[in-house]
Symmetry: C2
Subunit: 601 residues, 2 copies
Amino acid sequence: MTAYTPPIADMRFVLDELAHLDEIAALPGYEEATPELVESILGEAGKLASEVWAPLNQSGDHEGSVFENGVVRTPKGFPDAYARYVEGGWGSLPFDPAHGGQGLPWAIAAATQEMWHGANLSLALSPLLTQGAVELLSAHGSEAQKALYLAKMISGEWTGTMNLTEPQAGSDVGALKTRAEPAGDHYLITGQKIYITWGEHDCAENIVHMVLARTPGAPAGTRGISLFIVPKYLVKPDGSLGERNDLRCVSLEGKLGIHASPTCVMAYGDAGGAKGWLVGEENAGMACMFTMMNSARLSVGIQGLAVAERAYQAALAFAKERVQSRPIDGSDRGPVPIIRHPDVRRMLMTMKATIEAMRALAYTTVAAQDKAKRHPDADIRARNQARVDLLTPVVKGWLTDCGCELASIGVQVHGGMGFVEETGAAQFYRDVRITPIYEGTNGIQGLDLLTRKLLRDDGAAMTALQTEMGVTLGELESLPGADMAPIREALADGVDQLSTASDWLLELGETDLPRAAAGASPYLRLLGTVTGGWLLARGAAAAQRYLTEGGEKAGAREGFLTAKIQTARFYADNILPGAAAEAAAVNRGGESTLALDEDLF
Amino acid sequence: MTAYTPPIADMRFVLDELAHLDEIAALPGYEEATPELVESILGEAGKLASEVWAPLNQSGDHEGSVFENGVVRTPKGFPDAYARYVEGGWGSLPFDPAHGGQGLPWAIAAATQEMWHGANLSLALSPLLTQGAVELLSAHGSEAQKALYLAKMISGEWTGTMNLTEPQAGSDVGALKTRAEPAGDHYLITGQKIYITWGEHDCAENIVHMVLARTPGAPAGTRGISLFIVPKYLVKPDGSLGERNDLRCVSLEGKLGIHASPTCVMAYGDAGGAKGWLVGEENAGMACMFTMMNSARLSVGIQGLAVAERAYQAALAFAKERVQSRPIDGSDRGPVPIIRHPDVRRMLMTMKATIEAMRALAYTTVAAQDKAKRHPDADIRARNQARVDLLTPVVKGWLTDCGCELASIGVQVHGGMGFVEETGAAQFYRDVRITPIYEGTNGIQGLDLLTRKLLRDDGAAMTALQTEMGVTLGELESLPGADMAPIREALADGVDQLSTASDWLLELGETDLPRAAAGASPYLRLLGTVTGGWLLARGAAAAQRYLTEGGEKAGAREGFLTAKIQTARFYADNILPGAAAEAAAVNRGGESTLALDEDLF
């Protein structure tokens, strides 16, 4: 079994140096987010994650959630571990104090989220879905609905789910068929939903399903979809639980990973119709869902990061322990820990550097969201919102693709033992594989980036990002240290590649959209690679400044700061050059992607 | 459940146009390999693979091999499916007619191997190991040993295993501790071996273990290892089976994939010593093993190819069937099969193009082995042997890395259904993950390529390869067709990258071996990318020639030949640009890979 130690120093470095938590704490309403409070929150969350949640990760995988006689039994220890999370108030961190939330910045919540997902991806999925439902109700629910549901969901006593997918309606949500018939103050919901994460379980007293359905006569496609609250147990006006609603779990999916997370097929209305209450207006369900989806996409990106981090910790521990073969530099006559073999180091450095880039991208994007919500200056709010919109598909797509690749490297570091389930490395590889798929496949993310982000504002948000990267390039020029020049050069190349590919897609978007779309995924990857490299370069610059200035902030952290520079350098030398290949696929790849006749495949 | 259709037309194209089977059939001893016979062999093997082996792939995964009361029970249908293989004489294809083999070229056997591995990786592992043992005995066994064992092993009535690994001796084989005490005409073997593939099972009447062990007083490390035949049942002089030998399976590993393949912990000599017979000289065991390993490495590479091909077939069938969303080109108002979405096409083209490059590399390398063995001209034999030596680690490493990546893409094409085990896509992703690990991890392959191949002959074999690539570049220049120029340019870039990186490693190998070693894996990848692109370009050139000449060879195959060109073009546009990134990691990556203090990880 592998341990999990939340990487708090790395998290703090990103929050402080790249996400500028001090600026966020200066925003109205976020004043409580002092460095001391942040330290204490990360420490306490880290304890629960590492001591209670993490040890259940492998046993949860072995046992899985089980469906018997209409009831889902989660693995041993899960209900208790979840109860500890509720007791600690961990779900309430970023939410409105009016409904029992703690009103803290999302940037801090993001760091705790990384811990939950790193400790136990299956268990952490329940709060992730609940968070989405809370945001949805907060933004679109009536005051009465908020009063009835929000406090219990924010506390985590009730969990939430998202019911979009049906067998014929996956990425194409507009194809869904579930019906909602008006019946007085409520509707009667009938239909089947699939892939409902934590759709039924034994960890909370009620489950509040957010269900997409069609009302009679609704237009076809996404314009005719409405959103309903459909609780497992009906909620009385005083907030107490009433009778069971007409909905049930029909079966669980047998999955590659996240075995402990019950993925349910849900049946609504077998006995005439499940009672549901409309959220917002009829036919405005998709808009409501988008509120939730953007934040959920950031969280899924953080899952990719979190599992990669844990896979790295396991691989690193193994590489320091496992003794095998003499070192190639002849420094020892006997066998040494495998971390001393260059190829194993290469694998570990690839994991470490990419993970740090991923974390920087995720946390800074979430921090931009905090500013977009709370900054007093409307321009700054708008600018940050544009940044969040642009980078959300990248956080989701790039972090989860990298998550899979890094978990695979984690297996490889273990050699034969990586293929044996006992070690745990294989579970990370299996579990993380869902993240490029759900909450919008990464192909959908690429298309979102291309059409709704790059093309829609005619490249404005992208240009703003590249301008900031240019500022960093200037800063790097003035810094001492042998690593700064190569980092700068690699980044400058990457920014050029990004700029050329962006221009090309902007042009192609007007003349040949399918061909542009064929390059959307490589473009997303390119943006991830370069933005990750940019953030690591900024981190390296900050570290270099502290080291140059000396004093308190450097002192005891000299090793840590040096590692930041060397890690950024590794990324510049080994990962950033991928930008050229990714840009080539964008610039040249589309035509040949579309050339072959369908019959000739 | 997914079907499997051996891609015989693609296989034939590689065999005929790139591996030049006609030249091989002209070699002494290979005269029987007429085009008609090849067609018939591939057809018949394809039937057994697709009709008998493939349908057991998923049920075999579900059931797994089970260990009970000292006996291993393989999944339902496995013993019978294996018996059909033995009856068909499929194991005997490339072996010496003197011992019941059919004496056919390895290039043909490679194509059938792809079928067995594509149909059922778990089951095909047994013949793979048997083949290794046969080669080993053929090369190093005494005449008496050959007479006693070979015929039964070549027919497949008895299977073989390779016993190298021990808990403390994985990649470092020299650390093994199993002992062999002389006892008259034989030795008594005592020790434990792990990861013994098909070490115990119910598909054959005897299992012939090839076991590495140390004799008393043997030198430390790999120079003190001897190889022994240790049969499960002792073999009487007349070839009939005698009593049970003192060896047993202790347990099976619980693995990420290939659940139907029993991976055994084997105990030798619990009751005093298992009887073993020395193969070759004492302390020459490693040299013997290398005979087997090179060919096994080619076969493992073919496994990566085979699973990728099957994953592609499953993804393609799904993409043609699954209807979801309107097309971005506006050509339909309703939802269409997802193959019409550009990103899905990109994924399918990536699989198709990479698989064709992988197949071309594998088959041509095996064909070079045929020439190295049989060509009457010693120079040509030596040149081909050098090519085989150079490319064997690439076939093993690049094909298995790509196999994993492509199986992951196969999951992604399926969307949510890819994560559900029922679909089968997830099994390919799990199964193929072993291939970069066993038979020498891909890190070991990189090191082998760098030290034993590139550096040992001072780049001679590499230069010869690049010279051939240069010839292709010249040929491409003179061909008509809009695709030839971009294919040529991309290949020329790739060859430049390969050449620069090779020169750099040759230099670094003399001055800073650890730093060179840090670039060994990216170098292996680079060589795979470029050689794959070169072979596809050669295939495209052949196709273009047929199309230009017209006539019989083009005629009915116009679509097929056009697809070859377009696929090579896709590879040139989308995959070959990766060579620059891989070369950068070789040229610049080493220093920063090794920079970080071990404590700072």
